[in-house]
Structures are given as structure tokens and as C-alpha cells.
């Protein structure tokens, strides 16, 4: 595989302003296929903004954005989901009044085709597709380790299971890049450990992972490479050990807390 082919997501010179505030300025980074890429930084550094640009929720003001060799500019989230970017949300956004199973089934929407006609006639094709959706959704619920009955409403799942359900729903879209916004937020040490194991399994299955996280230990133990944002700029990038020793990072982020 050539070097260019190896890059899944390539951002160059990305900028995003909200009124007079530059939330992101000139951020360039690339994520390679099959790696777990961490994004850290103090509160308000622009992590989630970058995340929203990558997943189409925000439109960037400057820069280029290439995913899997195709340039995307001003694309709706559903187009990027189609392209293979799936995400979870920092503050959990499940379909609260739908069952766990249905939540994951919704994730299959863009990889399936049945329309009104298929729904009304339930012809052989539509039935087979529906069976495949249910099977895949059940498999995914087992895969991420949700022990509650699959018919439980999403809002009645435990907090940790809701986080896992979001991951299952995102995986149902067959993503090439799975973008997780603080998946370990609010989890205890045991839950974080098992999340770490899950993310490693997901990576082993060939899905690239982009991770925003506050839990520095998780980031350092899990990520192949890490980028550090501060005030909307990338101040460091590299393997975790290297980044941890970077003086700019210590000053901006780790230093403030570690000192």
C-alpha cells in the first residue's frame, strides 16, 4: 500500500469561526487506516468543533477535507455517514423511546434499500432485508456487550449500556471511521477498562477509530497517535509517549493539572 493510500482522513488548514471567535484555525492532521487516533486538549480547545466538522454537523470555513481519497466540502451529515464516517455524541443522543434493538436497526438504514412499496407489500426482498437487519442488529448488541433485553427502551438502559448502544448504532452503518466523542465520560474504572477492550476489538476488525477523551490514561494506553488541540490550534502530534513529554503540551494541558 502506498503512503497516500494509507491515509483515511486528511484535514489540511481547517478553520471554523463562530462570529468573531476562531474555534479552529489552520488545523491539519491525517488519520491512517486501522489506527486509533486520539484527540485531546483542555476544555474549549475545539475538539468537539473539529469533530463536528468531520462528521458534517458544522461546515468548515477554510481548508480541505479528504476522506478515503474523496474531497468533501459542505456535506450534510448523512452524506458523510454514507461515505463511512459514523459517530457517537458527547452527551448521549439515542432514540430514547425506541428499543435498544431498534436503535441499532436505524443504523442499518443507509445500507438497506426497502422503500414504501417494500414496506407495504413485504415482498420476498423486503422480508429478507428486514431479517438481515434484525440479525445484524442483534449481533452488534452482543458484540458491544449489552446484557439487557434487546426490547428495553434506550432510555431505560444503564448509563454504560447507553454509551455502548451508541457505539453499536454507529457500527451498524458499516463505518470506515468510527468517531467517538468522550465515550468514557462518566464511567468508572471497570467500565473504562472494558470499553478499552471493546475499542481494541473494533480496531482489530479493521475499523479506524477517532477518539476524543478527557481520560488521559485511556488515551495514552490505547491510542497509536495523539493530536493535542489548544485554543483551536494543533500544538502537538505523535505517539502518546512523545506527546506526553512535549513541553508545549505540558504547559497547555498536562502541566496545569500535574504540577
Amino acid at each position: 500500500m502506498t503512503a497516500a493510500n494509507n491515509v483515511l482522513l486528511d484535514l489540511s488548514g481547517v478553520g471554523k469561526r463562530f462570529g468573531g471567535l476562531a474555534a479552529l484555525s489552520d488545523v491539519s492532521l491525517h488519520i491512517r487506516r486501522g489506527e486509533i487516533y486520539g484527540l485531546i486538549g483542555p476544555n474549549g480547545a475545539g475538539k468537539t468543533t473539529l469533530f463536528n466538522v468531520v462528521t458534517g454537523l458544522y461546515q468548515m470555513d477554510d481548508g480541505q477535507f479528504t476522506f478515503d481519497g474523496i474531497a468533501y466540502d459542505r456535506c450534510k451529515p448523512h452524506v458523510l455517514a454514507q461515505a463511512g464516517i459514523a459517530r457517537t455524541f458527547q452527551n448521549i443522543r439515542l432514540f430514547a423511546n425506541m428499543s435498544a434493538l431498534e436503535n441499532v436497526m436505524v443504523g442499518r438504514h443507509l445500507r438497506t434499500r426497502a422503500g414504501i412499496w417494500g414496506a407495504l407489500t413485504r415482498n420476498a426482498g423486503a422480508r429478507a432485508e428486514e431479517r438481515a437487519i434484525v440479525k445484524r442488529a442483534r449481533d452488534l448488541l452482543h458484540y458491544v456487550g449489552i446484557a439487557s433485553p434487546h426490547q428495553t427502551l434506550a432510555k431505560h438502559l444503564s448509563y454504560g449500556e447507553q454509551r455502548r448502544l451508541e457505539i453499536a448504532r454507529a457500527l451498524a452503518t458499516d463505518p470506515k471511521l468510527l468517531a467517538l466523542d468522550e465515550p468514557a465520560a462518566g464511567m468508572n474504572a471497570t467500565e473504562t477498562e472494558s470499553l478499552k477492550a471493546l475499542l481494541q476489538t473494533i480496531r482489530a476488525s479493521g475499523v479506524t477509530v477517532l477518539l476524543i477523551e478527557h481520560d488521559v490514561k485511556l488515551i495514552l494506553g490505547l491510542c497509536d497517535r495523539v493530536a493535542v488541540l489548544d485554543y483551536g490550534r494543533k500544538i502537538a502530534e505523535g505517539v502518546p509517549e512523545e506527546v506526553r513529554r512535549n513541553p508545549a503540551v505540558i504547559a497547555a494541558y498536562l502541566g496545569g493539572e500535574a504540577a
Binding site: T55, G56, L57, K76, P77, H78, A81, Q82, A86, R87, F89, R93, L94, F95, A96, N97, M98, S99, E102, M105, V106, G107, R108, H109, L110, T112, A114, G115, I116, G118, A119, L120, R122, A126, E129, E130, I133, A147, P149, H150, Q151, T152, L153, H156, R169, A170, A172, T173
Partner: protein
């Protein structure tokens, strides 16, 4: 799979069949029973109840499934009704057959649904409600004023002498003798409306449990998340508007043929609000709830209209409050009480029940645990 003995399953199935057969016989006999017990006028009211159920089920797709609050839904009913009336009355001297005019009215309503949906895609909640409310009023005002300079709708006078529904040579507008029974016009319309209502229920059920239905519900639950999961929210929302409007248009056509006369007055804001009430009161998103809401909200005011006068006479010996105003008062009170006591509606969506009853997943899970502990 569930570990239920075979004999019990058969028992369950037989019970379901008996209940189904009883319901079918009840529905078939309903107009005759109503006629005999309460009089012909009540059969007409039952017919209207069926029309309103169709409307409520159509609106349920927009409000209950996709979560888009539409306060101008009656406009689609009006479009269907006027389409039928203009093409099947002396107004233009056109007398197109029923089986062309009714689908045409539904189709036209569908187009109007998309026309309303397209500019309102970015609006949510209250803002959408206000725009749809305005849309409903625009249609009514247009119908009211399209009598000059060219007379199209005959303005506030409305259109009269609309052709009755005629299937082949069989007119539903007159009394027929069939199988040794006398079927007056209202009875015939009852059976027609019943068939269409069952069809609408069937379509709703199928849509609810499908890829499209899940996409609607995902949008209702969280539009941002739905879009992030790859749902093209624009198209799916337009589809909800279009489907809902189609049902409304079809019901409108049937209404025009049944009533024989329509005027803009029948398509006011009160009617729109009434249909929203049926959906919300019955249980948003649940078909049985919506049907129940439709039945209650048509029958309750009528029952109060007929019962309020005599009841006052019996209690006080004279009429203290005009029954007409009293019935709306009591009706409003009933709505408030229901919403206080059962905020999710009289018959809320099945999912809450579903999670209370153990199903195959629980059994699966138990088996897994047994398996794990034996390892």
C-alpha cells in the same frame, strides 16, 4: 424461542381467532344495530367517526411517527374534498367516475403535502405548528374567495349536488336490496368507509414496522442523531408529509361524495385541532389508540348533544344551560382530565408494555447465563 407448551399456543391462537371473528361480526352488524337501537342519525355519526379515524390515522403518520406537529392537516382533507366536488358535480358539469376522482384527489393532496413540507423542513416544534396552522387557513381562505373573478369554488356558498360514490353502476347514494336485506345509503357508506379505514390501518401498521417507519421515529426522537446515522432527513420528512396528506385527501373525497355538499366552513381550524386531539388523546404513534381517540372524539360530543338536554330536565326540571354550549364545556373538561390522568394518551404506544412482559430476549439471556456458569 419461547418455551410455551404447544397446547397453550394452540389455545392462544384459537382465542385470537374467536376474538377476531367476533370483532368482524360486530363491525358488520354495527350499522343495523345502531339503526335499530339509536336511529338512522346515529349511523350517520358512525360514518363520520370512520372518516375522522382515517384523518387521525393520516395525521398520526406526521405527528405520531415523524413527530412533526401539523395544525393545518384539515387543508389536505379540503383539497381532496374539493377535487372530488369540482370533478363530480354540476359546478363545471363534470361527472368523472369515482375511481378516477378519488385517487386524483389523494394525489393532489399528496402534492400539497410536499408543497407544505418543502419550505418547513428546517422548522421544528412550535414554529412548524404555526406555519402549518397558517397553511390550513390559507387553503380555507382561498376556497372561500375563489368565486371571483372566475367562479371556481362557489365561495362560501359551497358546492352542492355532488355525485354520490358510484362503483360501476352501483350508486351508494340510494337504498338497495341485497341478500334480502335493505341497505340504506348511510349503511352502504359505512361499509365503504370501513373498508377504506381498514386499508389505512393496514398501511399504517406495515409502515410502522419498516425501514421507513423506523427512520420517521428516529427523526421524532432526535433529528441530529438521525441525520448522523445516515438518514436523509429532508426526504424522509417529505415522505411523511406526503403520506399523511394522501390519506387526508382520500378521506376528503369520500366526505364530499357522502355529504353531497361541501363548503369552506367544514375545513376550519377547529377541525384541525380536533384531529390533533384525537391523535394525542388516543395515544400518539399507536394505531389502536388513535382509532380509540377518533371514536371517542366524534361520539362524545354527539352523545353530550343528545344527552345534555334530557339530563338537565331530569335533574332540574328545565334547561339551565343550552346543550350546545354545555357539550363543548364538558368536552373540554374531559380533554383536560384525560391529559392530566393519562398524559401519554388513553392507549399509549406498545413499547412500554413490551418491556414489562418477558420476551425471547430474556430467555436468551437466561440461557446465556446458564451456559456461562456451566463453563
Amino acid at each position: 424461542m419461547r418455551n410455551v407448551p404447544d397446547s397453550l399456543l394452540r389455545h392462544d391462537k384459537r382465542h385470537a381467532w374467536i376474538a377476531f371473528a367476533a370483532l368482524a361480526i360486530m363491525l358488520l352488524a354495527l350499522p343495523f344495530a345502531t339503526d335499530a337501537l339509536l336511529g338512522r342519525g346515529w349511523v350517520r355519526i358512525v360514518d363520520f367517526a370512520l372518516l375522522y379515524i382515517m384523518l387521525a390515522l393520516g395525521l398520526n403518520i406526521v405527528v405520531g411517527y415523524a413527530g412533526l406537529l401539523d395544525l393545518g392537516y384539515i387543508a389536505f382533507f379540503a383539497v381532496g374534498a374539493y377535487c372530488y366536488a369540482l370533478l363530480g358535480s354540476p359546478q363545471f358539469g363534470l361527472h368523472w367516475p369515482f375511481w378516477i376522482v378519488l385517487p386524483l384527489g389523494a394525489l393532489l393532496a399528496c402534492v400539497f403535502g410536499v408543497l407544505l413540507g418543502a419550505p418547513t423542513l428546517k422548522l421544528r416544534g412550535d414554529y412548524l405548528a404555526i406555519v402549518t396552522l397558517g397553511f390550513g387557513e390559507i387553503i380555507r381562505i382561498f376556497l372561500n374567495n375563489l368565486n371571483a373573478p372566475v367562479n371556481i369554488t362557489n365561495g362560501p356558498q359551497g358546492i352542492s349536488m355532488i355525485d354520490p360514490v358510484r362503483i360501476g353502476g352501483f350508486s351508494l347514494g340510494s337504498t338497495h336490496e341485497l341478500f334480502g336485506l335493505t341497505f340504506p345509503s348511510v349503511h352502504l357508506y359505512y361499509y365503504l368507509f370501513l373498508c377504506v379505514t381498514l386499508l389505512v390501518i393496514f398501511v399504517s401498521l406495515r409502515l410502522e414496522d419498516s425501514r421507513i417507519g423506523r427512520a420517521w421515529m428516529a427523526i421524532r426522537e432526535d433529528e441530529v442523531a438521525a441525520e448522523a446515522m445516515g438518514i436523509n432527513t429532508r426526504n424522509i420528512k417529505l415522505l411523511a408529509f406526503a403520506m399523511g396528506a394522501t390519506f387526508g385527501g382520500a378521506a376528503g373525497g369520500l366526505f364530499a361524495g357522502f355529504q353531497g355538499f361541501i363548503s369552506p366552513e367544514s375545513f376550519g381550524l377547529t377541525e384541525s385541532v380536533m384531529i390533533v386531539c384525537m391523535v394525542v388523546l388516543g395515544g400518539m404513534g399507536n394505531i389502536r389508540g388513535v382509532v380509540l381517540g377518533g371514536v371517542l372524539l366524534v361520539l362524545l360530543p354527539e352523545a353530550l348533544r343528545h344527552g345534555a338536554g334530557p339530563a338537565q330536565h331530569a335533574l332540574f326540571g328545565k334547561t339551565l344551560i343550552d346543550p350546545e354550549s354545555l357539550r363543548m364545556l364538558l368536552f373540554g373538561l374531559a380533554l383536560i382530565v384525560v391529559m392530566l390522568v393519562r398524559p401519554a394518551g388513553l392507549w399509549p404506544s406498545t413499547q412500554r408494555r413490551r418491556e414489562l412482559s418477558p420476551d425471547e430476549d430474556v430467555v436468551h439471556q437466561e440461557q446465556d447465563t446458564v451456559y456461562d456458569s456451566s463453563k
